[in-house]
């Protein structure tokens, strides 16, 4: 066995000990613990109140619309990062860097304005 792999043996042991401890405790508590199966024990616990109705309820969150708008603005925001990274150079150039960003911001804002005015964010 080469030396470089030998260096990793402590890590492997760490993994074994960590997973071994978890597995042992779970299996032990399952084997050793008392098993009580009554109706009240298996019932949903909600602050001592009787649960009423089904927890599964359908409501529309306009998933595709939200997802599309999210992707759109998320991608647009990504372009801020390179701008922020190069901010120092832009300061030296004067207002040009600022102008470029404004040029980029304008379509984003127009897009946002368009989305609001078209009623894409009114859900009811």
């Amino acid at each position: 066995m080469s030396e470089s792999i030998q260096q990793y043996i402590p890590i492997a042991m760490q993994f074994l000990v960590a997973s071994g401890f978890v597995i042992t405790t779970i299996v032990a508590s399952w084997l050793l613990g008392p098993k009580v199966k009554t109706l009240h024990k298996l019932d949903t616990f909600e602050s001592g109140l009787q649960p009423v109705g089904n927890a599964r309820m359908q409501f529309s969150i306009k998933y595709f619309l939200v997802a599309t708008i999210f992707v759109l603005f998320d991608v647009e925001v990504i372009f801020f990062y390179p701008w922020a990274v190069n901010f120092r150079e832009f300061i030296q150039e004067g207002f040009e860097g600022f102008g470029k960003m404004l040029l980029f911001m304008a379509p984003v804002l127009i897009g946002f304005f368009y989305v609001i005015k078209k009623g894409a964010l009114e859900w009811d």
């Binding site: 004067g94 040009e96 102008g99 470029k100 127009i110 304005f113 368009y114 005015k117 078209k118």
Partner: protein
């Protein structure tokens, strides 16, 4: 002076900037309620873009990404002229109330920006961006008739096929980058020249994958399966846009890439491309014969025409540029004319089958004459531009390389087959005389009569004097 100002004063990319702003203006028309004036604003804007494009500083390199050589300027002008024409003929469809004109016009204008980039790129990234800017608005436009199931189907099919093709294209671009280490078209060409005959297999694979990706976009057989359904399902003028402007831009990009970068490696792809061309011409023409819907027939005819246009890519020399410009102009004008007539016939008769053209010459003599001339031009019969475009294309192929004689024979055979289905429309209009139902006598607005006459004049005048397009220097 700052670089931004410099670019602005140098008149670089003005057409692209104008069209982008025009798209935003058109998008907001609904909100600020100037929708009634929108059509005029858009027409003025596109006309302005044409003027700006002709004044573009020639041979300017823009951020090492675009190159405005004569090829770029003239193909952009042609595409913008077709877009202007499109906005004129499609007015009726967007006034009918089914479509939201402001959103649709915005998408069309954004797609046009992609088309312009596709004519002037000097970098593979820009080519890919151009194709995507061109395609993404069209996925939406194909489904713009929201309540029509076939329009939705068209949108989904187009999206899936388009995404698949883009994936293959990107894969090819990656391979080319992997072997050459550059995205720049001229550097790739230099690299291929320096490597001489021992080009690595990676490079060939890249070229073939790019070819397959672009063949998808221009709907060449065997990658044409999405075309008929998409063309039939989409709203009439969206189909017209796809068949003319999108296809023209895609071909301009296809040719630019292969002509600039891959000519020295043509041994590796010429044979495959020529088989592709023969397959496209035969499939398009033969299947078109069996169609009962004129719209679907035009879809197959556009596949067949894609085969002829691909001959210019195969040729990849100076003369092929003229042939390409002429052919796209001829095909574009004729197809837009045919779709305009078809739109009005469908509006009057309710269907787009060959039967709906029966005895049209009695009720609508002008529509019949216009359709006849469009069909003659598409079939390539003399007094029209279509004849000269085909003649120039075939003769320049034969002039440069006689070994492609078999391909020209296939093309001519295909053209002969095409005469059958184009003439089916003409025969339906003039051949049979049937009793006319009074509801079918509804006439079209005078504006369209004038417009259709104008289109016919363009087809015939360009057919008489194709020199107008041939006299451009150093295309």
């Amino acid at each position: 002076m700052s670089k931004l100002k410099e670019n602005f004063n140098d008149k670089k990319m003005t057409a692209v900037i104008i069209l982008s702003c025009l798209g935003i203006v058109s998008m907001l028309a609904d909100i600020f309620s100037y929708k009634k004036a929108l059509w005029y604003i858009v027409l003025a804007g596109v006309a302005g873009a044409i003027v700006a494009n002709l004044n573009e500083k020639s041979n300017a390199i823009i951020y090492d990404m675009l190159l405005t050589d004569n090829y770029a300027i003239w193909f952009s002008t042609l595409i913008l002229a077709l877009v202007l024409l499109w906005f004129m003929v499609s007015k009726d469809q967007y006034e009918s109330g089914v479509y939201n004109s402001s959103d649709n016009y915005a998408l069309i204008l954004f797609a046009t920006v992609g088309a312009l980039i596709l004519t002037s790129f000097s970098d593979l990234t820009m080519m890919f961006l151009g194709i995507e800017i061109l395609s993404i608005p069209l996925f939406i436009l194909a489904g713009s008739n929201k309540k029509d199931v076939s329009s939705n189907e068209a949108s989904l099919k187009y999206f899936l096929a388009g995404a698949f093709a883009s994936g293959i294209l990107l894969f090819g671009i990656t391979f080319i980058y992997g072997s050459t280490g550059t995205f720049k078209l001229d550097k790739i060409a230099d690299w291929a020249n320096a490597a001489g005959s021992n080009l690595p297999a990676l490079f060939y694979t890249g070229i073939l994958l790019v070819m397959v990706g672009l063949a998808f976009k221009v709907s060449a057989a065997p990658f044409h399966f999405w075309t008929p359904d998409v063309y039939q399902g989409s709203p009439m003028f969206v189909t017209a846009f796809m068949a003319t402007i999108v296809k023209g831009a895609a071909f301009a990009g296809f040719f630019r890439l292969f002509y600039t970068s891959f000519t020295s490696a043509s041994g590796s792809w010429a044979l495959i491309l020529s088989i592709l061309i023969a397959a496209t011409i035969l499939t398009g023409n033969i299947i078109a014969v069996y169609q009962s819907s004129v719209k679907r027939m035009l879809a197959y005819s556009s596949i067949a025409q894609a085969g002829y246009i691909l001959l210019t890519v195969l040729l990849s020399n100076q003369e092929a540029k003229y042939a390409l410009l002429l052919y796209i102009a001829s095909y574009g004008v004729s197809t837009i004319t045919a779709f305009t007539v078809l739109y009005h016939v469908e509006k009057i008769k309710g269907t787009d089958t060959f039967e709906s053209f029966t005895s049209l010459s009695q009720t609508h003599p002008l529509l019949s004459v216009v359709m006849t001339i469009a069909m003659l031009s598409l079939a390539g019969i003399p007094p029209t531009i279509g004849f000269f475009a085909k003649f120039y294309l075939f003769s320049s192929v034969l002039k440069s390389n006689t070994s492609y004689l078999w391909l020209i024979m296939v093309s001519v055979a295909g053209s002969l087959v095409s005469v059958y289905y184009y003439f089916r429309v003409i025969i339906a209009m003039y051949g049979q005389h049937e009793p006319i139902i009074s509801s079918e006598k509804k006439q079209i607005p005078a504006f369209y009569n004038v417009l259709l006459l104008l289109l016919v004049c363009v087809i015939i005048i360009l057919g008489m004097m194709p020199d107008v397009l041939m006299s451009i220097d150093n295309l």
